[in-house]
């Protein structure tokens, strides 16, 4: 009896699928829809909304301890991103941070600390943009680690890390350098943004200003066992990479859905001329549905380590980005002058869709990696 209760963990939180979606829908259409302009135009960091989403289960259901419900997690992120892409991105950053904590199997990152994170009582993001590209061979690793007694000393600068501020945290990776300067391996750790970390203001971005994005500078920042996520980091990254990318699809599809909403909104008034446009809401809606179906399938097996699975995830992520771009662009054309007002949703969403297309993994990285995975391997 007792074990049945524990295995049905989701019941403990009352995070049933239906309830999570109902509560996320209320937040997205209510306070988040109201805050979207402020988040975009004034850079408001919506931690209050993130807390509400956490309480609703939207930030925890993908975790093993809550049933590894990736499909639900993506659906929730899609629903929020439909109202505000920046918040969708915060959810993704928060989700993968929780994933690092749980998958690390480090008890000091699990337990109460993970519980607080999963419920949106504490906040943290991810600093893996540069490492993901570095491990794929696209650019060099920015953080350097030197072995020291009981751990590593980390030095270096990351130009932009989202969903952090003083007192928050993020998952990060550093390359471990030997004495001769060569790299032995990489370590992944939880970077606590305490007083040891220099947080620096970033230049103004074209969008996503409410994501609390900072430059980080580390000088002999000590990382010990307590903060270690994975040492070495590569096998860990290989294992979580499909899940890391798959979760972003919620943001992409949500921005696309928001664009379709905006096009549909003016259909009663402008449908008679809008029918001359391409990328009509019906057409894009069918594509969105097809992509959502693919997402649902892939969400069943987020830790499938096969090349075919990763390829499908990359394909889905790329089509999500293309769909977001087309959908946002179409919404502006459909809305015409009203969509050209600076306060109009299409103005914001176009910049959000640009973000979906260029954030790691960007469309170009996705195609680059798909080509790499498709290529025949030959003997050297």
């Amino acid at each position: 009896m007792e074990s049945a209760l524990i295995s049905g963990d989701a019941c403990v939180d009352s995070w049933s699928d239906e309830e999570v979606m109902a509560r996320v829908g209320d937040i997205a259409r209510g306070p988040l829809a109201v805050a979207a302009t402020r988040i975009d135009a004034q850079g408001h960091y919506p931690l209050d909304i993130m807390a509400a989403l956490g309480e609703a289960g939207a930030l925890g259901v993908h975790l093993d301890s809550h049933g590894a419900r990736f499909g639900l997690s993506i659906d929730a992120m899609q629903e929020a991103s439909r109202a505000c892409g920046a918040t969708g991105f915060l959810m993704w950053a928060h989700d993968v941070c929780g994933l690092y904590m749980e998958q690390s199997r480090n008890p000091l990152l699990g337990g109460e600390r993970l519980d607080a994170h999963a419920h949106g009582r504490s906040f943290g993001g991810t600093a893996l943009s540069n490492p993901m590209k570095a491990l794929a061979g696209i650019e060099p690793m920015m953080l350097r680690a030197a072995p020291t007694a009981g751990g590593y000393l980390i030095n270096g600068t990351l130009p932009w890390v989202s969903h952090i501020k003083r007192g928050q945290y993020c998952g990060a990776i550093a390359a471990v350098h030997r004495n001769d300067g060569s790299v032995s391996h990489e370590v992944m750790f939880m970077l606590d943004c305490d007083e040891r970390v220099e947080l620096r203001h970033c230049p103004v971005f074209s969008g996503m200003e409410g994501t609390s994005t900072w430059g980080i500078r580390l000088t002999d920042y000590f990382v010990g066992e307590a903060s270690m996520i994975a040492d070495p980091a590569r096998p860990f990254i290989a294992r979580i990479k499909p899940a890391f990318i798959l979760l972003q699809v919620g943001m992409a599809l949500g921005v696309a859905q928001g664009g379709i909403d905006s096009s549909l909104e003016v259909e009663p008034m402008l449908g008679h001329v809008n029918r001359f446009l391409h990328d009509r809401p019906g057409e894009l809606g069918a594509e969105l549905e097809d992509a959502a179906h693919q997402a649902k399938q892939l969400a069943q097996t987020p830790y499938d380590g096969s090349t075919d699975y990763l390829l499908e995830v990359l394909d889905l992520r790329a089509r999500g980005a293309e769909l977001a771009l087309r959908s946002a662009q179409a919404s502006l054309l459909h809305q015409g002058a009203r969509g050209y007002l600076m306060s109009a949703a299409p103005q914001r969403r176009i910049r959000e869709s640009h973000f979906v297309a260029i954030v790691t993994p960007a469309i170009k990285h996705l195609r680059w990696e798909m080509a790499r995975l498709c290529a025949e391997e030959f003997p050297a």
Partner: protein
């Protein structure tokens, strides 16, 4: 030209890509034009992202790769999309163009799309061919001649049949009809890793083998004594290499030939110095520090060779078809008369298909398949494709083998004619010939 100007250096921020140009300096942070990077203090920060001087590195602009001409922008103009630039893909294009000069055609191919005769690959080495002499027409030339938009070095990664959309590493393409000619790829057992073992299924692979063998005679282990393995064994031996063939069966071509016939093949191999190791399965291939290979068998043997060639058969990659929900059974399932897949407006031909559960990986039927599909795509009348097993020729030059009909495992082979040079056999059902076999030919050595 001032010689001084050429000595200005540039440095790039590793984080954000900002370039510090010594000639221009960075007046906003107090660096006058002409400030050398070395003279900047270590605490200077990137004016864009804030990283410090240590995160800059010398910037030498790379010469942009000339990929522009073949990466034509994806247009929304729909038309026929052909996936695959091998024999089957080009056959489909030729058949379409023969009927219609205007229908837009886009070809997506993982290779350059260069055209060559694939059967030649298993006899080319001993004929001293090179990759250049094997190519009959460059892909870009064929594309121009046939008015095809060629997306070479591009992979098809996703397919949504309901949306009439194929996704590629060069973007998403919409189609009115899709023709899958993706071919088959070597099916390699886990013991034969692709990083250590060569195989020959296309010109790129052949080119790699050709390059590797260019340094002179080598010891080669061929794993698999099927059609391709047998042809390559003889070709490599004729080219002067020491060849050993391993197979799980007791005889080469065991699935095809009765023992009496394969004995003749073995005899011919012996005279060419080809060693056959029957009843062997490879348990492990490893690489030595000097780049040689060691092939381990289930009997505990360790064969030291220079090259391992895997010829264990082909399989169709199911990913694209399965992702789109197309029926798949050892290949993309097609209607035997129309060659349409289980989805409307998607056709398939060549090595990637299966008809009645059987793949058919021969060149001969492809032209008829292409013609059938071209007629269907363009809405023209056509009698339909009629599949018949092709005549099978094994290109073992010292002992050519020809098989006609459909041999049956249940029927016995009977000798029709036999002498020192030639063996003719046949299978009969109710007095009718169902399959015939000719091994060797009279006076072949004199003619050679």
């Amino acid at each position: 030209m001032s010689t001084l100007a050429t000595t200005w250096k540039k440095f790039v921020c590793r984080a954000c890509g900002l370039i510090y140009d010594e000639e221009l300096g960075d007046p906003d942070s107090g660096l006058a034009p002409g400030t050398r990077f070395d003279d900047i203090t270590d605490d200077w920060e990137c004016p864009l992202c804030g990283v410090t001087k240590a995160d800059f590195m010398p910037y030498e602009p790379a010469v942009a790769a000339s990929c522009g001409e073949r990466r034509a922008a994806i247009s929304r103009k729909e038309g026929v999309v052909v996936v695959g630039g091998g024999t089957a893909g080009w056959a489909a294009v030729e058949a379409l163009r023969a009927l219609d000069a205007d229908v837009p055609i886009t070809m997506v191919t993982a290779c350059e799309g260069d055209r060559y005769r694939k059967p030649e690959l298993s006899v080319a080495l001993s004929q001293d061919k090179s990759p250049e002499t094997l190519v009959t027409e460059y892909g870009r030339d064929a594309a121009m001649r046939l008015d095809v938009r060629l997306l070479s070095n591009t992979y098809a990664v996703g397919l949504s049949s309901a949306l009439y959309q194929v996704r590629t590493t060069a973007g998403t393409l919409n189609y009115t009809q899709l023709i899958l000619a993706q071919g088959a790829r070597p099916a390699m057992p886990a013991a034969l890793p692709p990083s250590l073992c060569w195989r020959i299924n296309d010109l790129a692979m052949w080119t790699g083998v050709h390059r590797t063998l260019a340094s002179g005679p080598q010891r080669i282990a061929i794993v698999g004594a099927g059609l391709v393995g047998c042809e390559l064994a003889e070709d490599f031996a004729r080219a002067g290499h020491a060849v050993s063939v391993l197979d799980m069966n007791e005889q080469p071509l065991a699935a095809l030939l009765p023992e009496r016939a394969s004995q003749r093949l073995l005899q011919s191999w012996r005279s060419r110095g080809i060693a056959f190791l029957p009843a062997r399965s490879v348990t492990l291939v490893e690489s030595t520090s000097s780049g040689k290979r060691i092939v381990h068998t289930q009997r505990g043997e360790a064969l030291h060779v220079d090259m391992v060639l895997c010829a264990t058969g082909l399989g169709t990659d199911p990913r694209l078809a399965r992702g789109a929900g197309l029926d798949f059974e050892r290949g993309i399932v097609v209607d035997p008369g129309t060659l349409q897949t289980s989805a409307p407006d998607i056709y398939a031909l060549g090595d990637c298909i299966s008809i009645a559960g059987e793949p058919c990986r021969f060149i001969e039927p492809i032209a008829a398949q292409a013609e059938t599909i071209a007629h269907a795509v363009l809405g023209r009348d056509h009698a339909g494709y009629r599949h018949k097993p092709p005549v099978l020729r094994v290109k073992t030059r010292s002992l050519p083998i020809v098989m006609r009909g459909v041999p049956s495992r249940e029927l016995a082979w009977e000798v029709v004619d036999e002498d020192a040079q030639q063996l003719s056999m046949a299978q009969y059902r109710d007095g009718n010939v169902v399959a015939s076999l000719d091994v060797g030919q009279k006076n072949v050595e004199m003619a050679a």
